[in-house]
Each structure stands twice: as structure tokens, then as C-alpha cells.
Amino acid sequence: MSETRFTKDHEWIKIEGKIGTVGITQFAQSQLGDIVFVEVPAAGKAVKSGGEAAVVESVKAASEVYSPVSGTVKEGNAALPDAPETVNQDPEGAGWFFKIEMSDAKELEGLMDKAAYDKYLAELA
């Protein structure tokens, strides 16, 4: 069983047990435009909820990807640095950035579910 939560900075985290897979949303990739560079964190890196965990750059600008939860990175998506356009093509699938072992499942309660995120997007428009 898995569920997906969202942040106000437009990251998603798909939760399976203690492991979360993190990426940026369809909305985020559409705002960034053509992605030309991605830097993913190395396994073992400790990250905090809301802390910088990865980098994504479009032709025009660099952006940080923040970790939705605290924990230890288990794996960065090794395919992304050589194919950053994957984030444009499949942001909520093959374009995932990293997997994290969560240290505090309670942090998930502060994140939005799909319905709440869709409502949040509607308010941004």
C-alpha cells in the first residue's frame, strides 16, 4: 500500500512503509520549463524536512528541491543527470529524484494529500 503527499513547494513524496520516493510535480516542471541539469543527493546523506536535497535547472534558472521529510537518502535517481529531460516528460514517475528513509513519520501529517494539493493549485491560478 502506498500514498502520495505534496508540499507547498511542489514536491511529491510517495510513501511505502518507511521509505519515501521524492520528486517534483507536474505543475512544478511546467513552471520550470525545459530542464537541462539535475543534481541528486548521494545515498547516506542526511536531510531535514524543508532542507535542500537536490538541484534542478532550466535554461533560465536554478531551483532547489526540498525534502518533504527528514531522514537519510537511500538512493538518488542515477538516470537523471544524463537525462534531465525525464523530469519534464514524466515528473511524477521516471523523473523521481531520490528515495529517503524517513526518521519521523509524523512529519507526513503536515503535508497535503492529492485533493488538498489540487485545491492549493487552483488557488494559485
Binding site: 525545459d34 541539469f37 535547472e57 532550466s58 535554461v59 536554478a62
Partner: protein, 371 residues
């Protein structure tokens, strides 16, 4: 999405066209401008290098300068050879301050013995025209052309496209200008641009701008291009962006723009900051604008610190990003002149980490101007 900030922005005559084409509009130099269309910056950039891109640059400042000794008068403000311009010839030059700093870069076209046509940057235009009018008071009359839009048609098929409407466009020399008509519309054509490609800038009465733009966009291979791709195209072409790569704190020599100062002007001087600039031409300046190629994949943006191999700060990047045609990161910036030779290793401090880079020859993508 109109809001208070957007309401205070100026618009070009093509505003409604941009919106109808689905452009993403952003504030730029006080104007609401298209940064990209649905095609996106990357594909817009590549399209311009492969076919033809149409840019709205109506925010730029256009003006006519008239006076019996108009060329000699303008030479007191710029270091370029204006007296030597033949009718219909265009020159890229610089407005300088008394310290030799660059107030703006501009295009000067000789229309006739007593008339010059100026095109200056949007963000500088009010200041430039006030400066020119005040410094040359009594010698020249300046008329601003706020009733004129400016389109740029750039790319390898630009000449073929424009010649369908204006046959004489095809044989114009690079950096030349002529008056003609586009269907019934009087236009001033310039064979010039800001992409490194062949192409034209077309000055049109505001009322006809949308008609002309639509006629060009209806031609095969012509795509509307936003400011995002305009910036990546000019960066690959090694062309300066005023306010980023050059400003009042940089001199022509520092900016690697000595080539804009012809032999007569170097010898005679008579432009603002001449003594300082003549000294820098002879002895070299302390810092120099160079091309910079990051050796990895990460782009280095403007204001990135440049270090030598020992961790000493030796300069700063002024423009940087991803070059879609170069297919990698590209940048330019200023380094201590000791480090300006092509191939010199540099370290760029990106997100706190030194990334390897080297001084690279400009342009990153060869110019393909009409010869």
C-alpha cells in the same frame, strides 16, 4: 492575470498577439513582455538557429538625431567612427561617461549627411535620450520614435522569408539599413540582430505592427520567440547584455570591446574617458571579459564567483546558463587579466563547491552573418 504590478507595466503594440499565441508574459525593463511561447525556451532557441524566429523588441528605444554636424556631435559621446559612416551603414557603438564607463550600447545608422538613426536598450532609453539631448543641446535635434514598433526576424531562413515581401531585403549587406515598404506599410530595415544569425530588425509604425508580425508568422518556418531564447542565443553568440556584462563600471577595454574604437578615434580621442581608454588600449586593462566554459554539466549563473586554482577570487560571472545549440553550459564574465588567456583553468563556486571551468574563445557558436 492582471494585477497591480502588471497594470503599471507598459505594453508594446503586439501585446494582444503575444497573449493570443499563449506567451508567458513577464515584466522586463518596465514592459510586459513574452519570455516564452508554448514551444518553450529550448526549442525556440534551436528553431531560430535552424529556421527563423520573430522577436518583439518594440521596448527598445528608437530616435532620430538631426544636425548640420550631427556625426561630429555624436562622436563627442561615443568612441566609434560616426563621421566615416556611409548613408545606410550601421555601426555598433557605446555611450561613455567621463570615466570611460559604458552608459549603454547602441546601434547608430547614418540616414543622410545630417541625420542619424539610433536604437538603444529599453532599460536605458530615457536616460540615454536625456543624456544625448542635454550634452548635444543646440547642435542637434533629437526626436524619439515612440510611435514605432521594432521586430527582429533572425535565423538562416530570415532573408528568404523577408524577400517575399521586400525583394531588396535579400541583397542588403550585413550592418546596412534601408527604407522600404512591407505591403503598404513604410518600414526601416536593418540587417542586424542579437542572435549571431543572419537576420533583420524592422521598424514599423505601431498601428501596422500586428499586421506585419502576423504576415511573417504565417510564413513556413517562422516561429514567435520570447526573451528567454533571445538571451540564450546572444550568450552563445558572445554578445553583451547591458546591465549584466557591461555597465558604467566597465570600460570598453575591460569589456573586450576595443574593436568598436576605430584607428582614427584611438589616435584622436575626443570621446568621454578618452585618456583612460587610450591608456588601456595601449597597456591593457586590469580585468577582462572572457568566455567561460564550465567543464561539467552544471550551469554557472550570473554573479558566480570565479577563483584561480589556489582559492583566490579572480572575478565573477556576468552571464551564464545552458547553451541549447552548444549543448552544454556556457558563460561569460570578468577575470583578472592575468587569467584571460583561452584555456586558462578556473574554478567556479556553485552552491559552495568549486566546479572546474576554463577560459573559452567567444563566440561559443560561430556567427553566421550575411556576407
Amino acid at each position: 492575470m492582471p494585477d497591480a504590478a502588471a497594470d503599471s507595466l507598459k505594453t508594446t503594440p503586439l501585446e494582444a498577439l503575444h497573449v493570443s499565441l499563449g506567451a508567458k508574459m513577464v515584466p522586463f525593463a518596465g514592459y510586459n513582455m513574452p519570455v516564452q511561447y508554448p514551444l518553450g525556451v529550448l526549442k525556440e532557441h534551436l528553431h531560430t538557429r535552424e529556421q527563423a524566429g520573430l522577436f518583439d523588441v518594440s521596448h527598445m528605444g528608437q530616435g532620430t538625431l538631426v544636425g548640420a554636424d550631427v556625426d561630429a556631435a555624436l562622436e563627442t559621446l561615443v568612441p566609434g567612427d560616426i563621421k566615416g559612416l556611409k548613408p545606410g551603414q550601421i555601426r555598433y557603438t557605446l555611450l561613455l561617461n567621463e570615466n570611460g564607463g559604458i552608459i549603454d550600447d547602441l546601434m547608430v545608422t547614418r540616414v543622410s549627411d545630417d541625420t542619424l538613426y539610433l536604437v538603444v536598450n529599453a532599460a536605458c532609453k530615457d536616460g540615454d535620450f536625456a543624456h544625448i539631448a542635454s550634452k548635444l543641446k543646440g547642435r542637434v535635434t533629437l526626436t524619439r520614435h515612440e510611435d514605432a514598433a521594432l521586430l527582429a526576424l533572425q535565423g538562416p531562413t530570415a532573408a528568404k522569408v523577408l524577400a517575399k515581401f521586400i525583394p531588396a531585403a535579400a541583397n542588403m549587406g550585413f550592418m546596412s539599413s534601408r527604407i522600404d515598404s512591407f505591403e503598404d506599410v513604410p518600414v526601416r530595415l536593418f540587417r542586424s540582430g542579437y542572435t549571431g544569425e543572419d537576420g533583420y530588425e524592422i521598424s514599423i509604425p505601431n498601428a501596422a505592427a500586428t499586421t506585419v508580425a502576423n504576415a511573417l508568422l504565417a510564413e513556413p518556418g517562422v516561429q514567435a520567440i520570447g526573451l528567454g531564447a533571445r538571451d540564450s542565443l546572444r550568450l552563445e553568440a558572445g554578445l553583451c547584455l547591458y546591465g549584466s556584462d557591461i555597465d558604467t563600471t566597465t570600460t570598453p577595454s575591460e569589456a573586450a570591446l576595443n574593436w568598436v574604437i576605430g584607428a582614427r578615434r584611438r589616435a584622436e580621442g575626443g570621446f568621454p574617458g578618452a585618456a583612460k581608454i587610450q591608456g588601456e588600449i595601449k597597456n591593457g586593462a586590469g580585468k577582462k571579459r572572457v568566455g567561460i566554459k564550465p567543464l561539467g554539466k552544471a550551469p554557472a549563473r550570473g554573479h558566480t564567483e570565479i577563483q584561480d586554482g589556489q582559492g583566490n577570487r579572480i572575478g565573477e560571472i556576468t552571464s551564464g546558463g545552458f547553451g541549447p545549440s552548444f549543448n552544454g553550459p556556457v558563460a561569460m564574465g570578468y577575470v583578472d587579466s592575468k587569467f584571460a588567456k583561452v584555456g586558462t583553468p578556473l574554478a567556479l563556486i556553485v552552491r559552495g563547491q568549486p566546479l572546474p571551468a576554463e577560459v573559452a574563445a567567444l563566440p561559443f557558436v560561430p556567427h553566421r552573418y550575411f556576407k
